[in-house]
């Protein structure tokens, strides 16, 4: 145990992490967010999704340090009497879950198709890459809007869980293309290398070559891309919720909270929109910074 810790502390990654304070801060924020999301039930003062606990009489209270605010609601309440702090914590959880899940799905689909296209070449390659081109020619948010809309129409019996499912699928559909193209590019390089030729010559099946030999060598860029894409996915989720096709109003994500708060900007109740906005910026920024750092660390040419 101690040995591994020591080896980790001695490693390049750990050195570069310690030498970059920005990354340290970003990592810290990301850790706190992940921790809060994992243990939202214990960390958050109330459960904002439990409608039965909402006290409409306490709607739109200002943060505790302003006149009229109470300690019970540190960052104030929204238009339904929901504690903003708790809503932020639970909202961040939705953002992270949707972000991670959609990226995971995109990576699975994208890497598999990219490998296939790059390794097999020929008509499969042409077909898959043209499909990518088509997907890329639509703005991501448009495709997501379309899928979210169609998804809702297809499942009129939908409940909240399904709403999140649709959200994840719609973000995935636009996300996988990036991975497919990246992996295909790297695979094209790898497949002509000697170790692949050698494996071929001794008769290893194509599928096994792809999985055991090519895949580990093309995963580096995917890792970097995935980190950055988590931030993009979180923002896409927030945008969809902001536009009203994402998380339902009874279990608000950060985007939903920002949309609701927008209506109260002119009447002076700024905290409903500003805190979720800040939270979104914090999460997206920290994930992005981590992604940048990871790119630098994993890129031998930048060392």
């Amino acid at each position: 145990m101690q040995q591994t810790l020591k080896r980790w502390l001695d490693s390049d990654i750990s050195h570069s992490l310690r030498s970059s304070p920005t990354t340290m801060v970003a990592a810290l924020i990301a850790l706190v967010c992940v921790f809060c999301s994992l243990f939202a039930g214990w960390v958050a003062p109330t459960n904002p999704f439990d409608l039965a606990t909402l006290e409409l009489k306490d709607a739109r209270l200002p943060p505790a340090w302003l006149e009229g605010g109470t300690r019970q609601y540190l960052l104030g309440t929204d238009d339904q009497g929901r504690d903003i702090l708790s809503a932020l914590i639970y909202g961040a959880r939705i953002s992270l879950v949707v972000g991670l899940a959609s990226v995971l799905l995109s990576v699975l689909i994208g890497v598999a198709l990219g490998l296939l296209a790059g390794f097999k070449g020929g008509w499969i390659d042409v077909l898959l890459m043209r499909l990518c081109d088509v997907m890329l020619s639509f703005p991501a948010i448009l495709v997501a809007l379309l899928v979210a809309g169609v998804g809702r129409a297809l499942f009129p019996q939908s409940n909240e869980t399904l709403a999140f499912g649709v959200l994840i699928v719609s973000i995935t559909l636009t996300g996988w293309v990036q991975y497919a193209r990246t992996v295909r590019g790297s695979t094209l390089v790898e497949r002509n290398k000697e170790y692949v030729q050698a494996a071929r010559v001794i008769g290893v099946p194509a599928l096994r070559i792809m999985r055991r030999h090519v895949l580990p060598n093309v995963l580096g860029p995917v890792l970097v891309l995935a980190t950055i894409q988590v931030a993009t996915a979180i923002i896409t989720e927030a945008t969809l919720s902001f536009l009203g096709v994402g998380a339902p109003p009874t279990s608000p994500s950060l985007g939903t909270l920002i949309r609701v708060g927008n209506d109260y900007l002119f009447s002076g109740e700024w905290w409903i929109t500003v805190f979720p906005g800040l939270m979104l910026v914090l999460i997206a920024l920290s994930v992005n910074l981590l992604g940048d750092w990871l790119r630098d660390v994993l890129n031998p040419r930048l060392r």
Binding site: L56, Q80, E160, T250, Y264, F266
Partner: protein, 524 residues
């Protein structure tokens, strides 16, 4: 280059600017768009408000909201069931075709036929007899003394234009049917449709040869839907729009304190209520299988008593609403002054009722709600969902834009929904007939979307329609209200307040049905 033509055009420009100090452009914003330009397509106040500047009915209302002649110059009852209407002569549609009795008969067939949302305005008519090109006899199924009031909601279209443009049937959003009448218009009204970009911007210009002398000075109207409350209020504050409706309740004070703006506030005839599916044997969109809890009056009552209407009034509506116990407000003829007590807000009683009805753990049901139609509609629904959560009912709330909301609920594809209703005739019959009666022919129960049904109410509603004695009539309306309350057929919430924000230099007429007639508007 200082040529003569340039100077001339400059002069012309100066002359034009001088003129335009009188002729004004009015920029109107609303939280939603009119879903089409068809006057028979959707019985929704905003759509009627926009379209009624382009199309006209036989009878209209004046500045004081009293009945006034429009396309008909006079009308009289020749027998209890027969009315003679004299049409205005010399009226032309915007394309120049003259308006005659044939257009009225055509408009009747269109408004009474398939896909029309205006059946309840013409549902009393049994037969129309053309006497000559400008005289018509209307025979009603039973004596119906308030027929002229009803006709204010029925607009006239050109037979020739509709036939030439394959628009003889109304635009039916329920079935996704669109036609030329969706995007173009040809009415007799004081304004002509110039350009239509659905959801973005619709512009109108004054119809130069309108039959009436212009009372206002607005020559051009630009209508823009702005869904987001914050953006809409910003547009008003920055002077980007001249008139805006509704002001978000949280911003009323801010508009009032602005020296260039004013708030026009008044009681609206609209009552916001919730409805429940009481027809299907198995409730849709719910975890209850094999039965429909809403058929049980105890469940409906439990829902009613779970709703904390006073807190909704103070926190969500910021006081701009009056909680109500009836389906129509005191301004409407037939209001029962002794039946104004709402069932008390009492979550404990509500839980007990649910337990008695066999749902001690509550149940789960989807609630449909618009988010750009009524003042704070989605917020009210969320508050109701929270209220119901306290008695164990889990609401899956679906709040959406009215473009998808209305087609869905008008197809009756809902278990629990929100609707607002304005008695546009200012008479209780306009609530009894479309909202409380069993769905049937001639627009009866057309907006009774939960299909609540009570034979006695149907019987009384028919009698109310033909009764001329006010005392007897009011007694019958009172009985309907009583039954409707006792059976908790709908859950009335509140009477909404009108909140228009506009520039100080604009004079408008604010009717209590939230229709905005541009012809009266003066820009100083």
């Amino acid at each position: 280059m200082r040529s003569l033509p340039l100077r001339r055009s400059l002069l012309a420009l100066a002359a034009l600017t001088a003129l335009s100090t009188q002729a004004a452009t009015l920029r109107v914003a609303n939280q939603g768009d009119a879903l089409s330009m068809d006057p028979h397509s959707l019985n929704e106040s905003l759509q009627i408000s926009v379209v009624s500047n382009v199309y006209e009915s036989l009878v209209t209302r004046g500045r004081d909201y009293k009945l006034a002649p429009s396309l008909a110059t006079s009308w009289k009852q020749t027998s209890p069931t027969v009315w003679r209407f004299e049409l205005r002569k010399g009226v032309t549609f915007h394309d120049g075709t003259p308006f005659t009795a044939d257009d009225v008969i055509f408009s009747y067939e269109r408004a009474a036929g398939d896909g029309s949302d205006m059946k309840s305005y013409v549902g009393q008519i049994k037969e129309i007899r053309k006497i000559n090109s400008h005289t018509l006899d209307f025979e009603t199924k039973a004596p119906f003394p308030i027929l002229p009031e009803l006709f204010t909601g029925w607009m006239m279209m050109s037979k020739k234009w509709c036939e030439d443009n394959q628009a003889t049937k109304p635009v039916d959003r329920r079935k996704g049917i669109e036609n030329a009448a969706s995007f173009r218009a040809n009415g007799t009204g004081p304004y002509r449709l110039r350009e239509r970009q659905p959801g973005v911007r619709t512009s109108f210009v004054r119809h130069g040869s309108h039959w009436a002398k212009a009372e206002g000075n607005v020559d051009e109207v630009i209508f823009t839907p702005i869904g987001n409350d914050g953006t809409r209020i910003a547009a008003l504050l920055s002077g980007e729009v001249d008139v805006m409706d509704p002001i978000p309740v949280q911003d009323v004070e801010r508009v009032k304190s602005n020296p260039n703006l004013k708030v026009l506030q008044g009681p609206e005839l609209r009552v916001i209520f919730l409805g429940m599916d009481q027809k299907r044997d198995e409730l849709q969109f719910s975890n209850i299988k094999g039965k429909n809890p809403f058929k049980d009056v105890r469940v409906r009552r439990a829902f009613y008593q779970a709703i904390d209407i006073e807190t909704i009034k103070s926190r969500v509506m910021r006081g701009a609403a009056v909680p109500i116990a009836q389906m129509f407000p005191p301004e409407v003829r037939g209001f029962a002054p002794d039946l104004t007590q709402r069932l008390p807000y009492d979550p404990e009683a509500s839980k007990k009722l649910l337990a008695e009805a066999g749902y001690p753990q509550g149940f789960e049901v989807k609630m449909n709600c618009p988010n750009d139609r009524y003042v704070n509609d989605a917020e009210i629904c969320q508050a109701v969902a929270a209220n119901l959560a306290r008695v164990g009912v889990k609401i899956n709330l679906e709040a959406e834009t009215k473009g998808t909301y209305f087609p869905k609920i008008l197809r009756r594809d809902t278990s629990f929904y929100m609707l607002g209703w304005t008695a546009s005739t200012v008479d209780a019959h306009n609530v009894l007939y479309p909202i409380m009666s069993t769905p049937g022919d001639g627009g009866r129960g057309q907006f009774n979307l939960g299909a609540y049904s009570n034979a006695r109410i149907d019987e009384l509603t028919a009698a109310v329609g033909s009764e001329t004695d006010d005392k007897k009539r009011n007694a019958m309306i009172r009985e309907v209200v009583k039954i409707h309350q006792d059976e908790v057929a709908h859950l009335p919430l509140h009477q909404q307040a009108l909140l228009w924000g506009l520039k100080k230099n604009i004079e408008v007429v604010q009717w209590p049905d939230n229709i905005m007639p541009w012809k009266f508007i003066q820009v100083k």
